[in-house]
């Protein structure tokens, strides 16, 4: 499988603290790659550096062969990378439907053309289809802040799916959701993966990671300590030490 995302020597320093110490790995087309590690190992910092929210101190990120390091987050999003956040990030005062449409309206045309474009029936139809897929269609006219945390998580995922990204980066999609909803999210991810979507997933729910992911990368103290199939990672001594000490 071809690499869709290539991360080479990615470093991030906050003054003297090295949050990422030269991380290298690829996400291959059509796979679900798990990114795990103890708290503070640099997983979310890596997400932020890849998506342009934070500027990496050194290293390179390539997406579909094109260098994206240094680009603004909106350009990276438009290039085909969608992401969710550890703490759900929505537009709380806007309706569920407006949140969904907002996720795609900037992907088409120029900024000037957006002043004149009125017809968004195709966006609405797509949003309704996705909300139905995520089982939250009945909430489409509700203001996002009125949704439960689990429903907000689903909306967050729905927003990412609106722009048909080639790569979806999920930061703890199961955190704070009950087991049933967690399973539901997992099923949705597998379904989307079958349709050709690639995933990079940060998750602490190990059962979910082992069942869902085709490969796993493990970070500890900003460095990659292991990479491989779930079965290999489960037996890796360095990973066990990072998690349980020793």
């Amino acid at each position: 499988m071809n690499p869709i995302l290539e991360i080479k020597g990615l470093r991030k320093k906050y003054y003297e603290l090295e949050a990422l110490g030269g991380v290298d790995f690829d996400v291959r087309e059509g796979e679900i790659l798990g990114l795990i590690g103890p708290n503070g190992s640099g997983k979310t910092t890596l997400f932020d550096c890849v998506t342009g929210i934070q500027k990496a101190t050194a290293g390179e990120v390539r997406f579909l062969g094109r260098r994206i390091s240094g680009l603004k987050p909106h350009s990276i999003y438009r290039s085909g990378i969608g992401r969710t956040f550890q703490l759900v990030q929505l537009f709380p005062g806007m309706t569920v439907l407006d949140n969904m449409i907002m996720a795609v309206q900037e992907s088409e045309g120029t900024i000037l053309s957006r002043l004149f474009r009125r017809d968004e029936r195709h966006h609405i139809e797509k949003a309704i289809g996705l909300l139905e897929f995520l089982n939250i269609l009945r909430l489409k006219d509700q203001v996002a802040k009125c949704l439960s945390y689990g429903q907000q998580k689903l909306l967050d995922l729905g927003m990412v799916l609106m722009s048909d990204p080639r790569l979806i980066m999920l930061d703890e999609p199961m955190a704070g959701v009950n087991a049933t909803l967690g399973r539901e999210i997992g099923e949705r991810l597998v379904e989307l993966n079958r349709k050709g979507c690639s995933f990079l997933v940060i998750e602490h729910n190990m059962r979910m990671v082992m069942n869902l992911c085709t490969r796993i990368v493990v970070l500890d103290h900003g460095k990659k300590i292991a990479e491989g199939a779930p079965a290999e990672i489960q037996k890796n001594q360095q990973v066990l030490t990072a998690y349980f000490g020793g």
Partner: protein, 328 residues
């Protein structure tokens, strides 16, 4: 129970506009063309235009601006200098708005790197610089002596010099600017502006170019202030720097907050409340500012959504209906 209007939406819109224009046209009839009240009504139209711009910048996009008086001054001096030099008001007014627009872009480009109180300080500094320039560039601006004898315009040969005619001009321009802002807010731009206010990190992560949209909101807000300034020059027929002091921007901010920041009706309600309150409290004289400050504080503490928020609560709690929204 949500009892929504049974009328079709286009008809509701036409009726709203008819009511809006009707109220504006009724003002000279109600006050019998009284010169003082016509002046006050014209000033209210001007202030509403300026605060609509501030509402776009602060209320909808979440960027504080304390430089609105300066943008207003740019519009006012452009119209004053051009009309005194014999150019048409109809050329000077859009030019004043355009210069304010570009002034907003030039100020916004470096200053939008900072947020909140830092941005407030940068725009406050800009207001001070403009004020000092107007006061010290005697050869162009006349300094504190100002520019007097600014002519009122005519429209297709009809003079707009009378108080009623000039009021109708300001009311007409207010109607156009209201329609323009509604159009912007109901476009994709409007949704992007609101998205930035709601969550700028997520807005960037759904493809919104923060810099482009923030600059646009800032510059359009400045252009609205420029239009307001361009109208105030022929209204008073005189401009000098003391008409645009730094604290004037605070007044605009107070009017917006009292009316309801981020609500389309906010500037209208705020201007009416703040302009009429001194008239109602005329009897208390020096105590006016104390009472006004107390009302503002109470509103900020107990009703931060302003009077527009009270209007919403009235619909929801008393009438048990969803309040009508003018923007998506």
């Amino acid at each position: 129970m949500d009892r929504r209007s049974k009328l079709p939406l286009p008809l509701v819109r036409v009726l709203r506009w008819a009511a809006f224009v009707g109220i504006l046209l009724l003002v000279p009839v109600v006050f019998g063309g009284n010169q003082y009240y016509m002046y006050l009504a014209s000033l209210m139209c001007v202030h509403t235009i300026v605060i609509m711009g501030l509402n776009l910048t602060l209320g909808y996009t979440g960027q504080i601006s304390l430089g609105h008086a300066a943008f207003m001054a740019i519009g006012a001096y452009t119209v004053a200098l051009m009309t005194l030099a014999g150019y048409s008001f109809w050329l000077a007014l859009p030019l004043g708005a355009l210069i304010s627009f570009f002034g907003g872009l030039v100020l916004g480009l470096p200053s939008l790197r900072v947020k909140h109180h830092y941005l407030a300080l940068v725009t406050l500094g800009f207001g001070t610089v403009v004020y000092l320039l107007l006061a010290n560039e005697h050869e162009i601006t006349g300094g504190f002596s100002g520019l007097a004898g600014i002519p009122r315009p005519s429209f297709f040969g009809v003079s707009l010099a009378s108080p009623v005619a000039f009021y109708l001009l300001t009311a007409g321009i207010l109607t156009v600017m209201t329609a323009l802002l509604l159009w912007i807010l109901n476009s994709h731009w409007g949704r992007a502006f609101k998205a930035i206010r709601e969550n700028d990190v997520r807005a960037e992560m759904v493809g919104v170019s923060l810099l482009a949209y923030q600059l646009l909101a800032f510059a359009i807000g400045a252009a609205y202030a420029g239009i307001g300034g361009g109208l105030i020059a022929p209204l008073i027929r005189y401009v000098d720097p003391t008409a645009f002091p730094v604290h004037e921007s605070f007044w605009f901010l107070i009017m917006l907050i009292i009316g309801g920041s981020g609500r389309f009706e906010g500037p209208f309600i705020g201007v009416i409340a703040v302009t009429l309150l001194p008239e109602l409290l005329r009897g208390v004289q020096q105590m006016f500012f104390v009472i006004f400050a107390a009302i503002t504080l109470l509103l900020l503490v107990f009703w931060p959504t302003g009077l527009a928020g009270l209007y919403d609560a009235f619909f929801r709690r008393v009438l048990k209906r969803t309040p009508p929204q003018l923007t998506k």
